[in-house]
């Protein structure tokens, strides 16, 4: 613990603020329901989504992923699965989801002249209470370490990531092509099938058109098993988070 500045713990032993440690606090900047956020999601941001209440059945067999950069939109591709190596996915369509966006507190500007600002030791801002624009806050409920997730495939049921009722982060690890061309498809995303599962799929025939890509790109994932033209990645390279609004 530092001998100067501000350090705050919660009763769970979690560190909330420490002005000596060069941290950036995240705050919610947008909550909504739609096919994407109102603004482009930056590389440091996180975007959490969940299926709107009562609509779980309409997302069965749908892999959800996000296009980033110039078109921050939520997409879904409906899969037809079999374990003989020729699963297929319909073309991507925009899907409507509940979502919220979190950003570094220091990136949310305000002209108010009151509140509490926590500075890091290098004079950058760790937390600025003026960045709180909304009455709701968030709590991280699940954290899956990189490559720790057993991804779903037609021959491996995978591991449930958690609860469908939570919000799941998709801006940093999901990606996908919007359509298939001569069978070429790449999808790294969420499959809501009773519970959320990660999926890491790639079929190798032809060349596809698409965009998106989390930090690890469309080939993210750990080891893999290959059947015919399909490759089902066993894991996901990036971390996967879930959260709830409080």
């Amino acid at each position: 613990m530092s001998e100067y500045g501000l350090t705050v713990y919660n009763d769970n032993g979690g560190l909330m603020f420490d002005s000596s440690r060069k941290m950036n606090s995240y705050i919610i900047t947008e909550i909504g329901t739609g096919t994407g956020p109102s603004a482009t999601v930056a590389s440091d941001d996180f975007l959490f989504v969940k299926i709107p209440s009562g609509q779980a059945s309409s997302f069965a067999n749908t892999v959800i992923f996000m296009g980033v950069g110039f078109n921050a939109q939520f997409y879904g591709r409906v899969g037809t699965f079999n374990n003989s190596g020729d699963s297929s996915f319909a073309n991507a369509t925009a899907v409507t989801l509940d979502y919220f966006v979190v950003k570094h507190s220091s990136k949310v500007s305000s002209t108010d002249d009151y509140g509490l600002t926590v500075y890091n030791e290098d004079n950058t801002i760790q937390f600025d209470s003026r960045s709180i624009k909304l009455g709701q806050h968030f709590l991280i409920t699940e954290y899956h370490e990189p490559r720790s997730v057993d991804a779903w495939s037609t021959t491996n049921g995978g591991i449930s990531l958690g609860s469908n009722s939570d919000y799941w982060e998709i801006s940093n690890w999901t990606s996908g092509t919007l359509s298939s061309f001569e069978g070429d498809t790449s999808l790294v995303g969420l499959l809501f099938s009773g519970a959320p599962y990660a999926i890491n799929y790639f079929s190798t025939a032809g060349s596809g058109f698409g965009f998106g890509g989390g930090n690890e790109g469309p080939f993210g994932g750990g080891g893999s098993t290959t059947t015919s033209s399909e490759t089902w990645g066993d894991s996901i390279t990036g971390m996967i988070l879930s959260a709830e609004l409080i």
Binding site: M1, T7, V8, Y9, N10, D11, N12, G13, G14, L15, M16, F17, D18, R21, K22, M23, N24, S25, Y26, I27, D44, V102, H104, D112, Y114, G115, L116, Q126, F127, S129, R130, I132, K133, L134, G135, H137, F138, L139, I140, Y143, E145, P146, R147, N172, N215, E216, G222, G223, T237, G238, M239, L241, I246
Partner: protein, 96 residues
């Protein structure tokens, strides 16, 4: 709230220091395209501020780069398991 620090603008508020959480990135440990020699390791020391079990890492790397937890020494250890030089990017978070 029964105790702690609550920050409000009179309408909206947040950060209650009892059971609440603040999701932080520790940018002091942010690494971009960090080179790691064959068989080498990179240690991220996380001690000194809270419970090390409440720390997460996000990693961008190929399959030769692995992450292990050294809870005895409060470290996250990034290793290159290949016979050649590799690079990785990583961010550290406190989120629980």
């Amino acid at each position: 709230m029964s105790y702690g620090l609550y920050i409000s603008d009179g309408v909206n508020g947040g950060v209650i220091t009892n059971a609440n959480n603040v999701f932080n990135e520790e940018y002091d440990f942010e690494l971009t395209n960090q080179a790691l020699s064959a068989g080498g390791t990179y240690n991220i020391q996380t001690s000194g501020a809270g419970n090390p079990a409440l720390i997460g890492i996000d990693l961008i790397a190929n399959n030769f780069i692995t992450v292990t937890r050294d809870t005895t020494n409060d470290r996250i250890v990034i290793s290159n398991t290949s016979g050649g030089s590799q690079s990785f990017s990583a961010k550290i978070f406190r989120f629980q």
